[in-house]
Symmetry: D2
Subunit: 459 residues, 4 copies
């Protein structure tokens, strides 16, 4: 296993990482990259073992419903990159099982890759969403054939791929990129049916970075985003060679969706667990700021907090239902129920902005007008700010200002905007989540109930 320091060293491999147009030689030289780098390095140190055969236990899926449940607090605490690494490796394992009958040649490759990744203690990010070009056209019918990642050349020892993948969190910090088709493919889309592991340092890989990390100002005004940011990337494959042993599917159009489906099983738990936590956190912020404002007992304030609590409890019910109805893979690994997680994500996504509206309504305009924490450092201003922002015994001006900054940072600034967008978009947008519901809902049972009510049960 690697220590945090060894991990940092391992990234000095010639990778092409960009931030605001600059090619970044040293990730630690840019605060917006150095902070997440350190968080990931800390994760390495936390799970490090000097034993020769040691492997990170979190890269293995739960083997019982209880283990599945116990994994939740671990997931919400661990860094995002470790989480996606776990998802990537589990996805490969499940995909291998599913390909055993139809494309057995890939199975030993996948198994060897997973084993090696665990042994080397590397981090792997998932690359799914393509650039997509004109969305009304299929991959093989695009104006630009590169709108979806595809094989442009097949060589004796590997393939050359071209295209771009979007919205890849933490791509700059992993070792490998797990490329997989974003959807099922048609018969003439064999070149687009490519799954493989690409080293970030491969020639031709370019990774942009966009981040909500604060660009300046006082870190205390950004208590969350200054310590816990993670950039999103566009990963461009500009004719990248991938050796044969890292190619996990190539042209088997009938099986193009196996990887994306497998990934679905493992990414759910993290997404829903985070949503449940976030909903509770918003309730907590509302409760704290109402108390600090001296408005906690006003009827309409209490009712808004009630609604936030009801929403948070509803999401938790969805998670509980998904766990109580967990399913096992053929290998005996447990994952939460698809229908319940999906509906929970949908409801969490659809109502996030309303919950934030309640929080803003309760907190007041000072969310965006409270003085900076640096203003408190000014000796002329500090006593005035303490005096006028404090609201009585036990609620100092600084305490209240810090609550306002936490609310602004989380819901009404760059990170807040990121939450607004990603809550809606994670899982593909609200409509995509509806489609899953449509597919999984037991409509025949519902129709039978209705026919019975209508006295048409025999119809």
């Amino acid at each position: 296993m690697l220590t945090g320091q060894q991990y940092k060293e391992s990234l000095k491999d010639g990778r092409m990482i960009y931030l605001e147009g600059r090619l970044v030689d040293d990730l630690e030289s840019e605060p917006a990259l150095a902070v997440p780098l350190q968080v990931i390095a800390d994760g390495y140190d936390k799970y490090y073992s000097a034993q020769p055969d040691a492997k990170n236990p979190l890269t293995i899926a739960p083997r019982s419903p209880e283990e599945l449940r116990d994994r939740i607090p671990v997931i919400t605490e661990m860094d995002l990159l470790l989480n996606v690494t776990y998802q990537s490796l589990m996805t490969l394992q499940v995909a291998a099982a599913r390909l055993a009958d139809h494309a057995p040649e890939f199975v030993p490759r996948i198994q060897a890759y997973v084993e090696d990744a665990r042994r080397r203690d590397i981090r792997v990010t998932e690359c799914i969403t393509d650039a997509k070009g004109d969305r009304s056209l299929a991959p093989a019918k695009q104006h630009d054939p590169d709108a979806y990642v595809h094989v442009v050349e097949r060589l004796p020892d590997g393939v050359v791929i071209r295209g771009a993948k979007m919205h890849i969190s933490a791509a700059a910090f992993g070792h490998d990129l797990m490329v997989m088709p974003t959807k099922s493919m048609k018969l003439d889309e064999g070149d687009y049916t490519i799954a493989c592991a690409v080293a970030v340092s491969s020639p031709g890989v370019h990774i942009t970075n966009t981040t909500y990390h604060p660009r300046g100002g006082d870190p205390r005004d950004f208590p969350v985003s200054s310590t816990n940011s993670m950039p999103d990337s566009m990963v461009i494959f500009d004719d990248v060679f991938v050796p044969t042993e890292r190619v996990f599917l190539d042209g088997q159009t009938a099986h193009a969706a196996v990887f994306a489906h497998s990934l679905g099983l493992w990414e759910r738990l993290g997404g829903v667990s985070f949503m449940v936590n976030q909903a509770d956190e918003l309730v907590g912020l509302a409760s704290l700021i109402a108390e600090a404002n001296g408005t906690a007992k006003i009827a309409h304030v209490r009712e808004k907090i009630d609604e936030m609590m009801i929403h948070a409890t509803l999401l938790r019910a969805g998670l509980e239902a998904a766990l109580a109805n967990a399913h096992a893979t053929s290998d005996g690994f447990y994952y939460p129920d698809d229908m319940f997680t999906n509906v929970t994500k949908y409801v969490g996504a659809a109502n996030f902005s309303s919950m934030v509206r309640h929080l803003h309504d309760i907190a007041g305009g000072a969310v965006v007008t409270a003085p900076s924490m640096a203003d408190f450092d000014n000796s002329d201003l500090r006593p005035l700010l303490e005096k006028y922002l404090g609201t009585g015994p036990g609620v100092s001006g600084e305490y209240r200002a810090r609550l306002f900054h936490a609310i602004r940072d989380t819901t009404a600034d760059a990170l807040g905007g990121w939450h607004h967008v990603t809550n809606v978009q994670s899982g593909g947008g609200l409509f995509a989540q509806r489609l899953v519901t449509r597919k999984n809902y037991d409509i025949e049972r519902a129709r039978a109930l209705a026919l019975k009510a209508a006295g048409l049960a025999g119809a």
Copy 2:
């Protein structure tokens, strides 16, 4: 145990039952009463056993989480009166356990009553909500001291009570009325702290009946309400004598709320199970009528059905979460989690009208304009109606008309109105359900999460 016929005979006991101002001598003489009477009698026959010691197994609570779950389909099938009888008897048992330390004199009485009720195979309804008079005043401060049921005289062998209880379903069909305080009481409200079992036939008991049973027309136009109605009553206690052995609390103000709280444990499961079923039934109706209208593939119709499915699944998730987190009484009886059932009921109540709006939007104006089934009996009209209401192969005019009538009956006529109101009101209105959430939510955990996010975890 009683057969259905024996049950019917047992109600000929001089009870004072009113329907639209008429004192009803024979329940079978009024269609609006005869129909529910027969449904209850059928329930008797269904569970009848000729064994001398036989007792209805459904009057005992589940003894494991699995039994709790298995009870759900039974509850949604059984008649309402049997369900409330079960709730009443379980409530008494739990109350007895809770009173053991503080008011032990009532415990043997309660146990004897429950045992006797089971043995005699009687039906018992719950009487909670008082008339309440001016709601801004406490029971002992009302303009009219009878606004809440109370003891007006204490005799050597019993008490005399006066007052009225509202919204009592099936009161006219039970043998006993389980009277209990609607809320906790203050020290000076001893006379209002009365719980007791009152025979429906007791002198001074008057029972009005209000029903959504169709008053006329063709029963086929009311496929649900003509076969499955149940009147709601106002039960008036006009100086009714209750013998001592049927008095279960009298003046112990500190324990006034024990019965209502105990009842809460048992009535939840039925309420939430029905809501989940009803939501699925609405999905089914929407799916059937969209298909019959030939609009099932139109995007906006599909999306409205999606929303209905998401809502139904969310309610089911709440039920699943409540079952997965079931608790046991000290006697080892299992009941679903309070927080999850409450939130589920709130969300079901708050969104029922939106789901109905979707159904009406999908179904079209014929929900309220479709010809009566009797129009189909007219030989001149029938071929014309079949021709113009049918929409193609497999969708006859009569089939489609019956779907419209089922939708109207369930959501846009007297029963529909009853659903609209009782969905919101069951459990005391939306605000009362919020209060339960407010009380049970783990706000300290939420505040800790928020303080941590704000960097104020030590504050």
Copy 3:
């Protein structure tokens, strides 16, 4: 002009009117028909003038914005049949102007018909919506060619039509049926491009009736629906001959939509005016019942009434905006702005069920469980009901019961269901109303604003 009595006599013309399968010889013999008949007859008496040339002034459209505004209270008071008669005659006039260049042969016929209808003081209903059969198919492509009304034979002196029209309010009470195409037509749909006036008494016309008029019970329990009901009809044209002078379009497919578009101008004002009134009435009911329940000062009750007031005011704003932006036809007749009326109708339709939910939440379960007014007639019950339903000085039991019945009748019984459905469906369902918005909104202006914000104003 006709008196009410003359009007009633004029309907004894052999028309084929059905109610629940019965062919009705005498409309006054069925309460569900006699009540609306009398309401219409009263309208005749109200506007009756014995002057030889007198004509009903309400069959002429406003000639200024002020007249347009003044017409609103008149419309909300007048009977529905007079209102649709006005709409029908104005529609014909506007259609005549639009057809002048393209199909001039119809213009004198239409003008003569309108003149004659005014002179004879008859009532005319609008027949638009066809049976439609399979909605995914065009009129000429249906399994059954009669799914849309069409010409089946052309004779020297007229045409024979066949088909059915749906959702026709008051059809049984008018003299003529104004048939018009429900939509624009394609080149091969000439036979479906038929507009004409059909006498209700024509051989082959069959009219079913469906109504929310109470089927029994005490009229006092149905204060609105027992006095102000109006049946909806399915009007079937079973090979009906229409003389040439009553044919207003026949085969000119390019102009098929002229009548429906013209109708749109005139029916809006009534629909929106009614919605605004209804929203205010719901506020009033909520205010009265909260006061009667003694809950008018509770915070959450006040907030729910606030929301109802905001909704009602918003609808009123829409009406005000439509009047302030009124347009004139080429004849100088004024009609309200299309965009604003449509959005107002959409918002009124989409939120009606939420407003009703608030009302039910405020009013309580007694909306569906309050004793009948007939129970108050029982001398034993009356004092008990007065005692227990009253809530203090000034709020008698009977007064409160009557409020509950008004709320139930209007929102939670047959009429309530009719409102739920027709609010959503009037104008063709929520989606149809969105389409109008989509068509009329000034999207180019919005895009220009956005481009400017993005710094892309020159793009």
Copy 4:
């Protein structure tokens, strides 16, 4: 009148302006202050006239409904400081009229001040909201008597005030601060009943600044906030002397609310006009990005845009209704109707976050993950970004990226957060806006309608 340059010079008056703890000597030295300074200076130049007696015409209110309507596009174009100056001066004039009978001594002072302000062409900001301390306590009952601005000393030639005012936009850029009581005052709150004009340069005035102006990065990534930001201030009065001729109310508690009420008349139009414009702009952004993504014809995308158009049109209807029902002051100045503007603001505030959710749902995750415009400057990246972000002919990668940045800047970054909060908070939060509705709604008319429906019209 002043030129822009003269205006800039006029601010070099020793004022105490703070940004992130730094005392700012030269406003032009800080980009976050220099940008809005220039915008205001440009406004001076735009309206500059060299005529000796010239005055800015926009500091006078409209004198007819037509002028009122014509003012709307002017207001949405002019800079915020000119707008609040206009509001301040009009407020003073209306207040003078209202005080004429009760506190005539202030009238000539106010008139002289207004005249002088116009002559000197200065800018004046409104200072209303106090620090408020413990919100459950009145001003005179606070733990800290300075929680509301009050007079601490009365001198022969003026008064000394102490306290702080919150959420003051553009305070650092004006010449005077118009201080007024935030609410009505009780008899013992005479010292808190102070209205006066305070020069920003007065000793003891301290002004913090909080801004959504971007702290770094490429201005092209912030197309709106980098060019059009305005800081919000906390204005602290640390024992500030105000000369008698600038005191407009001092101790007349009965008239404390006159200024705030007068201000209400003038600030509405701007707020609602901006909301209407913003709603249209969001529609435009949604339309442009859907087109650029190639998803403009997908049904669910169109429906989301429909909802945004309906919302925008509804707000416009509210504005139209407010204009159509405009009222005049006793001086003949016109202002829009209170009820309609308030309801419009409420609905705009309550739904802003839902509209943004639709926009984010339509736009996709690239709102927060699109590469920076600086990435386009990198010659290696540019062709790749153009290739993979473009979606076909007419939609270049750069164009699409700029749309994403405009959406992020406006709705999902610092400015976006400011909009989320201020939309809800402007006017005092959603509850405060409800209170206005509650106060102005014609509830008696609504109750009369309801009584009539219930057949209780004589009750």
